[in-house]
Amino acid sequence: MSLIEGLIEGLIEVGGLTVRYGGRTALDDVSFAVPEGAVYALLGRNGAGKSSLVRCLLGAQQPAAGTARLLGRDSWRERARILRDVGVVAEEPDAPPAMTVRQIARFCSRLYPRWDAAGLEERLRRFGVPADIPFGRLSKGQKGQVSLSLALAPVPRLVLLDDPTLGLDPLARRAVFEELIVDLADRGTTVFLTSHDLAGVEGIADHVGVLREGRLVLNEDLESVKQRFRRIRFAAAGAAGDLPGLAELAPVAVASRGWGVEAVVTRWNEESLAPRGAEVSALTLEEIFLAVVDPAAGGQP
């Protein structure tokens, strides 16, 4: 690691990133940083701009404005150099279908300065993926597992995963996340992932970002998010705005139910006092996500 790389604030630094497709803005002035050792989960609905952001991070797409820097380097200009220290799992397994896993591994091993062949073998064995079958003949879950194994084989400082569990069954999803947890525990690898599997993400992420219509509306460590988001239920009748003290808790989703009013607040802390007669409960990451991206739903799945 060079001195300059050691001094960088975040392993990923995104500043004012904007991506447009014709007249449509896919990413609008997005900025954030991911510190070394963090597990950052980027969440968002379909079309929110997650894949565009990942493509910019990987240097596969040139932004209309702003910069995306990985390991202190501009990812568009120095893509090949950066990727020597980055493992990537694409949204769709894109390895050549005619090549066997072993051939793909051999091809990739020549491209990286480090290659943990034994680790790769061990992972494939754990996953139960045969190495001599063409990639195109593997199941979707196996393809995902191969992709993850290949991404971790160069012993990367950073792993980028674009919805790695998309389309996988619960068992395969769990295997992917468990493998990540093992790798994280072993080496403290920095991870940036996008996913719709919020339950899985919740188990490993320590930072979370939420994209809504191209804008980053949430960017925080997961614990503090979970601390300040609460669901409050009132059995009282009347307009939600009339409830004393609710406005100070910054509600994002307020809905009238048959039995009263339900609100998701974003400024709850240990000193906060619940309105009289109210029931306060913590939210899962999924509920927080829903409250942020679709306030009208009131944080209900």
Binding site: R55, L58, G59, A60, Q61, Q62, R79, A80, R81, I82, L83, R84, V88, A90, E92, D94, A95, P96, A98, M99, Q103, F107, C108, R110, L111, Y112
Partner: protein, 649 residues
């Protein structure tokens, strides 16, 4: 990381991609190897009979090699990048530490290895059986310029590379499903139409070599533009098919636009020539009267293009005119007998349009006429004042009014297969046809003079052909008709004979010691007979009835050519003492006074170019100086000056 290490990593990436491409498509090579066995079986097939089975094997192997290489090149070109891109598999490479250029170059190199590997494997079995494949003599390639196997492989490699690249460009455009394809189609149409029209300019001028060179250059530009476009697409467009298509199209059509512009510039450089651009005077047509001449010759760097000009030796003005096929170089321009007009044909569309120039006006421009032909006539003649044009075309002798384009006469007439055939208008406007027909075994020759009178209104559109006379003479080599068309002089064996055409009367006969070479009718109807003797040449001056007046011996000369009369009784000529008479080098120019027999040396390296025209023509005053320049004699001072300025080394 140092730049050397980065380059090493990039090269490793390039090599990895190349190997992966080859390994993934290795079955192609296996299929090619199996195809290579087909030529071995062909000579054994029932119905295949050939004196040399090896030639059949070689021909089949080469043909298969071409087909396989073409198919493999097109297939790989349309899939290596564009296929991965449209099937969203290019991200596999872009998510690895591979430079964009290494991905593009590696895949391209892989395609090249597969193409040429397949080609070699198809040829290999036939080569093992007979290592000497004679490409130039193979029945299927005829006189192709590719004559040996290494050249064949180089050409094949270049062709395959261009095919791979062009297929990649086309495939990217189609597979991206972007509306840019409409712009691509518009650009393709524009470039193709532009190139086609420019190429037509070359073909109409007979610049076939330049046309082929230009197209070859365009093909190379197509390859270069495709290469650059693909590189920009991959390195800048990366995994985005539409952005990649946009970048590819912009780069490719910029390149092809530049290529088309260069082709147009090349075309105009080739055809926009002046007489000063001539490397040498290849042919010269002196006028019957006046200072304008027809001029033609090769030019530097333009291949077989030999532009033709009308050139005024007095003012230096010139017009580039249509160039007929080289073996008909003498066809045009045609001058009117009074020297006031010149006409020529210019290729236009699918035909040839007649243009005419008033030589008497210093500011005259070439004027279009309503006369056109669908092919080159084998002979043409222009009437005094340029009023009518006679042409022998499609076995029909036609006379057309130049001003209106109206056909005045058309009579069936067989195309001449002889070098002696002339059309000319008489001062009265009738068309005079002089023809020599050769008999069986070259033993008997018949001279025939005819006249076509297109003037009669009752004959309009048909014409009446009148036979004036026929002279039969065995083994005749030299014929010449007098200026008034009444007499014909000929040399038959050792005899010079002079006949009256209409009465067939033998007017004079002279037995010669040597070989008669040339007969000239002078402006006062006297004759000059050029006789070659062992070690010398003798000029005989004869009166109009054939009686010998005087002899002019040229001792030690092997050849004498007559330029013509610069003034009545004063003649230009050139002599040589050795060497081939066909060469323009080694001649010495003289001025000969026929009345007192004195000769004036004009200078060495001067070949008379006048073709024995009369004093009213500039022809007798023209000399070709050592193949390179045209010199004009001032008879008053005896000085010569360069008229073309080609006096370069």
């Amino acid at each position: 990381m140092s730049s050397a290490m980065a380059m090493s990593a990039a090269m490793k990436g390039f090599w990895s991609v190349l190997c992966r491409e080859v390994v993934e498509r290795r079955l192609l090579l296996l299929a090619a190897a199996l195809m290579g066995l087909v030529p071995l079986a062909v000579p054994l097939l029932p119905g295949v009979t050939a004196p040399d089975p090896g030639e059949v094997r070689a021909g089949t192997a080469l043909a298969l090699c071409l087909v396989v290489t073409t198919v493999v090149a097109l297939t790989l070109g349309s899939t290596v990048i564009a296929g991965d891109l449209s099937e969203r598999r290019l991200g596999f490479y872009f998510s690895r530490p591979l430079a964009g250029w290494a991905i593009w170059a590696g895949k391209l190199a892989g395609a090249a290895v597969l193409c040429m590997g397949a080609a070699a494997l198809v040829l290999l079995p036939a080569l093992l059986l007979d290592p000497r494949i004679e490409i130039g003599t193979s029945w299927w390639m005829g006189d192709a310029w590719i004559r040996d196997l290494p050249t064949f492989f180089i050409a094949l490699a270049i062709g395959a590379a261009i095919l791979v690249l062009a297929a990649h460009v086309a495939s990217t455009m189609v597979r991206s499903r972007s509306s840019w394809i409409l712009l691509d189609l518009a650009a393709a149409f524009t470039v193709a139409a532009w190139v086609w029209s420019e190429r037509q300019l070359l073909l109409r001028q007979g610049a076939y070599t330049a046309s082929v060179r230009g197209l070859a250059g365009l093909l190379l530009c197509l390859g270069a533009a495709s290469l650059a476009a693909g590189a920009v697409q991959v390195t800048r467009g990366r995994t985005d098919p539409r952005r990649g298509h946009r970048l590819l199209s912009l780069t490719f059509w910029s390149g092809m636009g530049l290529a088309a512009l260069s082709f147009a510039a090349y075309t105009h450089w080739v055809i926009d020539v002046t007489p000063r651009d001539l490397l040498r005077v290849g042919s010269l047509l002196p006028p019957p009267s006046g200072t304008w001449i027809g001029l033609r010759g090769p030019t530097a760097g333009r291949g077989d293009y030999a532009p033709a000009f009308l050139f005024d030796t007095a003012s230096g003005r010139s017009f580039r005119i249509g160039a007929p096929p080289l073996y008909w170089w003498w066809l045009q321009p045609v001058f009117s007998p009074d020297g006031t007009r010149a006409a020529w044909l210019e290729a236009a569309g699918d035909g040839l349009d007649l243009k005419i120039l008033d030589l008497t006006r210093p500011d005259a421009r070439a004027a279009a006429t309503r006369i056109s032909f669908d092919t080159w006539p084998s002979r043409m003649a222009l009437a005094p004042g340029g009023t009518r044009l006679a042409a022998l075309v499609h076995s029909s002798l036609t006379v057309t009014d130049v001003a209106t384009g109206r056909l005045l006469s058309a009579v069936p007439f067989p195309e001449p297969d002889e070098d002696f055939f002339s059309l000319r208008f008489t001062p009265e406007g009738r068309l005079r046809i002089d023809e020599r027909l050769r008999g069986a075994g070259l033993r008997i020759s018949r001279f025939t003079a005819m006249e076509l009178d297109p003037a009669g209104p009752e004959d309009r559109g048909r014409g009446r052909l009148t036979l004036l006379g026929t002279i039969e003479s065995p083994e005749t080599k030299t014929w010449i008709v007098s200026r008034d068309g009444e007499r014909v002089a000929l040399c038959s064996g050792p005899f010079f004979r002079l006949f009256d055409i209409r009465t067939r009367t033998l007017l004079a006969e002279l037995r010669l010691q040597g070989e008669p070479a040339e007969i000239t009718f002078l402006s006062d109807d006297r004759l000059l007979l050029n006789e070659r003797l062992p070690g010398s040449v003798m000029l005989h001056l004869l009166d109009r009835d054939g009686g010998e007046l005087r002899r002019f011996p040229f001792l030690q000369a092997t050849r004498v050519i007559i330029g013509g009369e610069v003034a009545p009784g004063r003649l230009t000529l050139a002599t040589r003492t050795s060497g081939s008479s066909l060469s323009l080098k080694g001649w010495t120019g003289f001025l000969l006074d026929l009345d007192n027999g004195s000769t004036t040396l004009l200078g060495p390296s001067l070949a008379a170019a006048g073709r024995a025209t009369g004093p009213e023509s500039v022809g007798p005053r023209l000399f070709l100086a050592g193949e390179r320049d045209l010199m004009l004699l001032d008879p008053a001072t005896g000085r010569l000056r360069s008229v073309l300025g080609l006096d370069r080394d």
